[in-house]
Amino acid sequence: MKIPFPSLTFFQALQALMRQDEARFRRLGFVDTTFGIRIVTTDRAWQYLLTFEVFECREVREVSTFDLTAIDFVLQGDLAAWVEMLDNIRQHGGADVSHSLNTLTHFGERLTLLYDDPDNRDKFFRFQESIQEFFDLASALDVELPMSTAAGAVVTT
């Protein structure tokens, strides 16, 4: 069954895959962070809150706002950037050199890191490999991505 993106179902599917692959994530170590995902187009935004604890993704939920003082950081980007990243993960079985989360966020070119406290923001780096491998799990999903237009924008259905 195809899993649409953006959707809560997509993040729940990643959460389930992480649980199934516990040995891999146990090897990477404790991951204790709560962060947001913000996917935007010109006329709407999707926002999800992900909570990781010990070796697993304990909770995913859709939220209407983020309180940056209560969570560690938010990964924000245009729908087109997220789609390109997931398409790349699907094609390569994981992000290639141009599509790792650190690369996409480093200068804020494609994705931006929003945060209140830089020490909490640094959890993105403390748990970097776990977070990257969490997103790389999407390569095993049959994701229905919005269509890209020639101009680089995306069309959602």
Binding site: N102, T103, H106, F107, R126
Partner: protein, 379 residues
């Protein structure tokens, strides 16, 4: 041997009598009545296992640790009875505020579960599928040479302080031990990667070595931690993220993601240590500023090390043609500004907002920003 036993046990009558009584089964059993708290700790979260935080109870805990540890100067573990006759090991640091950080115990547990292995966790067998242009390989080998050099001092520095801290600071000492292992692994992974480039190691970096010597020769643990954890490793964390950004292969990206995790933990300890000091001992503010003045001078002097900046420019610009160098120079300047900005951002949150006004490094940042704006490099 700097210390020799004051007793020759092979001839000492008291010792030999005691030894023989034990052999005959005449037990003393005085230890059965140790005057200590009886405790049966359990994990708060069974999935996480039994953590140091679960042991934070009564005299065994770190919360009850006083600011000045006067009683125990031996190897007796915190919470044990201290009988007469324990040696004074003359710890150099017995003030909690010199070493303590919020969440020290958490950083330790995180470090223990997030250890990785440079021999096995990097897919070295995939190297064969990458063929890098000669100028990129050579620049990368030079960068790896510098990183190996840096990581060697990062290993030595916490190691040399470990035995000088009072043993009551269990969690800090354990965290330092993980840092020593982390840094040894960083030095290992960069050396291994350098020796797979086809160029091996390149040129050592004198200016950077003088800077690293300043960290090594700090007069106190608190000075060392400011210079190493907060400043040095803060700059290195940004550098690892930039290195991941410009890494030529997926394998290299993975290496930098793994080292970045460890580095962010070390910086976390440094930030939480400074926060602890600022909250409990605000009178130390001026001393901290004076030390940062000196450390920032060291950081700025790193600009002399063209053997580090130039490989970054070539790697970021993806080559040595004029347009590559122009592009690489622009990106590398942005990275260097980011390093400094992130440093001041951390100081702000530690309560040292006035640092921006006082710091010559901040002044240099503003001048750099203005000249890059004038040249049209940044908006």
């Amino acid at each position: 041997m700097a210390y020799l036993s004051t007793i020759d046990f092979f001839t000492d009558r008291n010792f030999l009598d005691r030894w023989q009584r034990t052999l005959r089964g005449e037990l003393d059993l005085g230890w059965l009545h140790a005057k200590t708290e009886k405790l049966a700790a359990t994990p708060e979260n069974p999935r996480r296992g039994l953590t140091f935080r679960d042991l934070d109870q009564g005299a065994y805990g770190f919360t009850a640790l006083p600011e000045v540890v006067r009683q125990n100067r031996s190897l007796a573990p915190r919470g044990a009875e201290l009988p007469e006759g324990l040696p004074d090991l003359q710890p150099a640091v017995s003030h909690k505020s010199e070493v303590w950080a919020y969440n020290t115990e958490g950083y330790y547990e995180e470090a223990m579960t997030r250890q990785w292995n440079a021999t096995l966790d990097v897919p070295w067998h995939e190297l064969a599928k990458y063929e890098l242009p000669d100028d990129i390989s050579r620049a990368y080998a030079q960068l790896l040479t510098f990183l190996t050099e840096v990581e060697m001092i990062a290993t030595d520095v916490p190691a040399q302080w470990l035995g000088r801290l009072n043993n009551e600071f269990t969690e800090v000492k354990n965290f330092m031990a993980t840092q020593v292992m982390d840094e040894a692994r960083h030095s290992e992974v960069f050396r291994k990667r350098a020796l797979t480039t086809g160029y091996g190691l390149m040129k050592a970096s004198p200016q950077n070595e003088w800077s690293l010597k300043l960290i090594r020769d700090s007069d106190s643990f608190a000075e060392m931690s400011l210079a190493l954890h907060l400043v040095g490793e803060g700059f290195v964390l940004t550098l690892f993220r930039f290195s991941e950004y410009i890494s030529p292969t997926e394998l290299d990206k993975k290496i930098f993601r793994l080292v970045m995790q460890d580095e962010a933990r070390h910086v976390g300890y440094g930030v939480q240590h400074l926060k602890w000091v600022m909250r409990h001992f605000p009178e130390k503010r001026e001393v901290i500023h004076q030390h940062l003045d000196e450390v920032e001078n060291m950081v700025f002097g790193g600009g002399y090390a063209v053997e580090v900046t130039e490989p970054f420019i070539i790697l970021a610009g993806k080559g040595t043609k004029k347009e590559n160098i122009e592009h690489g120079t622009r990106i590398t300047a942005l990275f260097q500004m980011k390093q400094i900005e992130e440093y001041f951002e951390r100081l702000d949150k530690c309560g040292l907002q006035e640092r921006r006004q006082r710091s010559k490094l901040h002044n240099a940042l503003e001048l750099t920003r203005a000249s890059l704006q004038e040249a049209g490099v940044i908006p």
